[in-house]
């Protein structure tokens, strides 16, 4: 399987009709198209079904067997809706806000490694780029909130900006701990360093007695980065109707919504690359049962990273439907007085382990 697929991707890479690297573009675009079409669509469907089962109800059941075609129906509906722009809204900002959000959310997919060969851009500062792209979302949110000409939207946008900007710090420091363990910032290198016969034992989470702390800190901070509950006060439905995207309807709303699920997948993928091995198989080789070798390869790699991403998405949804939301000042307290000091402690301890114990 791996052999034939590698030759297939080699063949595609050498396909140069009219001298243009169309084959390479297809290789890079394939995972992105997969994510956008299926992962997000079924992410939305999954959220509705998972939340339904947690709340003792069924969720979408009508459209397609078990409601599988629900999101497609929703997208079709949103596509044909009237695109309403407020008369008093700042038209330029109103239109560009969702665009920036969407672009920012998907730009990070360029550095996500879906397999040994499938990566959009193998930057040697991949992780740094991924963290920095999140900052672009802030501009999009502000544009959306201000451009709506709605006091509630403005409230939501300002809260969201404060939240995202504050939580970038513990998130970045936690990733930095992971980068210290790897000694590099390149996403692909992270995966290669966690490759091994021991399966999940060679993941960074288990290589280091202190690695669980940055893992946990990054997970919590990433919830805040993507405005998910319990940090969803910017889109607090009961206070601000819908926060910064109150005034959006139709396709623009769909774009913002998809951008949120896109960034959910992105942070899940980042955390699984840095701490949980990315496209490496978690199954160890036990004696002659070479589970690890059997489950490694280009297609298997894509499978593993997507499964790990979905696992973290499931946990994010689980938390959303269980916990109430934190108030704005409690949120800020959590960031500055709890997560940031612990992130620094984790940083120092990781550094000590790496230098002296290894």
């Amino acid at each position: 399987m791996s052999m034939s697929l590698n030759s297939w991707s080699d063949a595609l890479a050498q396909w140069l009709p009219l001298g243009l690297p169309v084959g390479l573009v297809i290789i890079a675009a394939l995972p992105l198209v997969f994510i956008a079409l299926y992962a997000l669509t079924y992410g939305v469907y999954g959220e509705r079904k998972i939340s339904a089962f947690m709340q003792d109800r069924l969720g979408p059941m009508e459209v397609g067997k078990w409601g599988l075609l629900q999101t497609i129906a929703d997208i079709l509906k949103l596509l044909q809706k009237e695109d309403i722009v407020n008369r008093d809204a700042d038209k330029f900002l109103f239109v560009i806000g969702p665009g920036i959000l969407f672009v920012g959310s998907f730009l990070a997919f360029a550095v996500l490694p879906f397999g040994p060969a499938f990566i959009g851009a193998d930057l040697n500062v991949g992780v740094f780029y991924a963290i920095g792209i999140v900052a672009l979302e802030v501009v999009g949110i502000l544009a959306a909130g201000w451009g709506s000409n709605n006091k509630w939207a403005l409230y939501g946008a300002i809260r969201s900006v404060a939240q995202i900007v504050s939580y970038e710090i513990p998130a970045a420091i936690a990733i930095l701990c992971g980068a210290m363990m790897a000694g590099t910032l390149s996403m692909q290198q992270f995966n290669l360093l966690q490759q091994g016969e021991n399966g999940f034992m060679s993941f960074f989470l288990f290589q280091n007695p202190i690695a669980w702390l940055p893992f946990l800190i990054y997970f919590i901070a990433s919830l805040a980065e993507t405005n998910r509950a319990p940090f969803d006060i910017p889109e607090a439905e009961s206070e601000l109707v819908a926060g910064y995207f109150t005034e959006y309807s139709g396709m623009k709303f769909a774009v913002i919504f998809l951008a949120e699920y896109g960034s959910m997948f992105m942070v899940s993928a980042i955390i699984s690359v840095v701490f949980l091995g990315g496209w490496n198989s978690p199954l160890p080789n036990i004696g002659t049962v070479l589970l690890n070798d059997w489950t490694t390869g280009p297609v298997w790699g894509a499978f593993w990273i997507i499964m790990k991403g979905f696992f973290f998405i499931f946990i994010q949804m689980w938390l959303r439907w269980t916990l109430p939301r934190l108030r704005v000042d409690q949120l800020m307290y959590l960031c500055w007085k709890v997560l940031t000091p612990f992130a620094f402690i984790a940083f120092v301890l990781t550094a000590v382990w790496e230098i002296y114990m290894k």
């Binding site: 319990p230 009961s238 109707v241 109430p324 409690q330």
Partner: protein
């Protein structure tokens, strides 16, 4: 110099420095923003408009504007005869319709010379307590969803569906029952109703405990509600608060115990007052806890009623109801303990006609909401939502 001083804003101070020079100091105070919550808003529990003056996230004043659901109950009551007012009373506090009918019938029966059959008394108490549990479930569920916990809302509504089925079985309607009539009730309990109610009581007891654990022991929920919206007991009494609001401030006052009606003196229950261990007495969490404890007390009351209730054997609950309800001349203020507080009816009858001269509904939510302006001063907007949720208003009763 004076003209200059008067010409500028009051946030600017002009200080003469002598020799014709001045220093102008401007305060960097931010302007107040007027923010309108409602009348269409997911968390105001109905069509309530709150005009908030905010300074950043801090609300300096939140004034409620009512009247969006005013349906002229009192004017209708003057043209409809006494039994015909019962459906109107249902529609005031639609979440606790049985309790509202109970209050109205007690008020009118004070002016009549009628002896209510003992079985009817037990029937009335059972359906009232069931409706109290249903109403508290809505209060708790919507409070949770206001604070962002989406799941308890659905758990509460799932359990409430069982109660609505029971009440539909007894009265024919899920929410607006027209069941408790002046002098009796409209239908007897169907066969098997007592057993199903007992089943429900056993089913719901562990669920009530689960709800407590899911919310009350959740640290985020406690942090959002503890210490928010403190109301000292004497101010609460002065505002006319009653029911769980007053008990949440520590005042032990329950009309079922302290001004008893119907067969409540025969039932053994305690007045639920928070003990101060989980919450600060007088804050939103106390009020929520009172409702949660009251649900469990209602369960035990229903069990006692089911035990003590006399048997049926072809009983007609309409036997004591006269053909024409014509109360003697006089006036009465009759009240009962609604899930939201004291629902009172001031009824004036002239003894000759079958329609009241005056029927004023003293609604609990109207009085509870009047304290909103004072409670909201200096709170953050998310806390404002927490306070409104703990007051548990139903706009149908506020506006009548």
């Amino acid at each position: 110099m004076q003209e200059l001083e008067q010409a500028v804003n009051r946030s600017v101070r002009v200080i003469p420095q002598g020799e014709g020079r001045v220093t102008i100091e401007k305060d960097l105070s931010s302007e107040e923003m007027i923010l309108n919550m409602g009348p269409q808003h997911p968390s105001t529990h109905g069509v309530l408009r709150l005009e908030c003056k905010t300074d950043g996230e801090v609300v300096t004043e939140a004034e409620p504007y009512l009247g969006y659901l005013h349906r002229c109950f009192e004017k209708h009551a003057e043209v409809v005869d006494y039994p015909g007012i019962v459906p109107f009373v249902d529609r005031m506090d639609y979440l606790a319709a049985m309790n509202s009918e109970f209050a109205y019938c007690i008020a009118v029966e004070k002016l009549l010379d009628v002896e209510i059959p003992r079985r009817v008394e037990f029937m009335r108490v059972i359906v009232s307590e069931l409706n109290r549990i249903a109403s508290h479930l809505v209060a708790i569920g919507t409070y949770a969803i206001d604070l962002g916990a989406f799941t308890p809302f659905l758990f509460c509504f799932r359990d409430r569906e069982h109660i609505m089925s029971l009440l539909e079985w007894a009265s024919g309607a899920r929410m607006l029952y027209n069941y408790i009539w002046i002098g009796g009730a409209s239908f007897d309990f169907p066969p098997g109703f007592k057993e199903r109610t007992a089943e429900f009581v056993n089913y719901f007891r562990p669920k009530a405990l689960e709800l407590q654990r899911l919310l009350t022991e959740n640290e985020i929920f406690v942090k959002r509600t503890k210490g928010i919206g403190m109301m000292p007991p004497d101010v609460a009494v002065n505002y006319g608060w009653s029911g769980p609001m007053l008990r949440g401030s520590g005042v032990e006052w329950d009309l079922r115990k302290h001004d008893p009606y119907s067969i409540y003196p025969e039932l053994d229950f305690k007045v639920c007052v928070p003990d101060g261990k989980h919450s600060d007495i007088g804050d939103s969490l106390s009020r929520h806890l009172v409702r949660a404890y009251e649900m469990v007390e209602s369960l035990s009351m229903i069990e006692q009623c089911l035990d003590k209730m006399p048997d049926a054997n072809g009983f007609d609950p309409r036997s004591a109801i006269a053909k024409r309800i014509r109360p003697k001349a006089g006036e009465v203020y009759g009240r009962a303990e609604n899930p939201r507080g004291e629902l009172g009816f001031y009824i004036v009858s002239d003894g000759k006609s079958t329609k009241p001269v005056r029927c004023k509904a003293r609604s609990s939510c109207f009085v509870n909401l009047s304290a909103m302006k004072e409670l909201s001063m200096g709170q953050l907007i998310p806390d404002l939502v927490a306070i409104i949720g703990s007051i548990d208003i139903v706009l149908g009763e506020v506006d009548r």
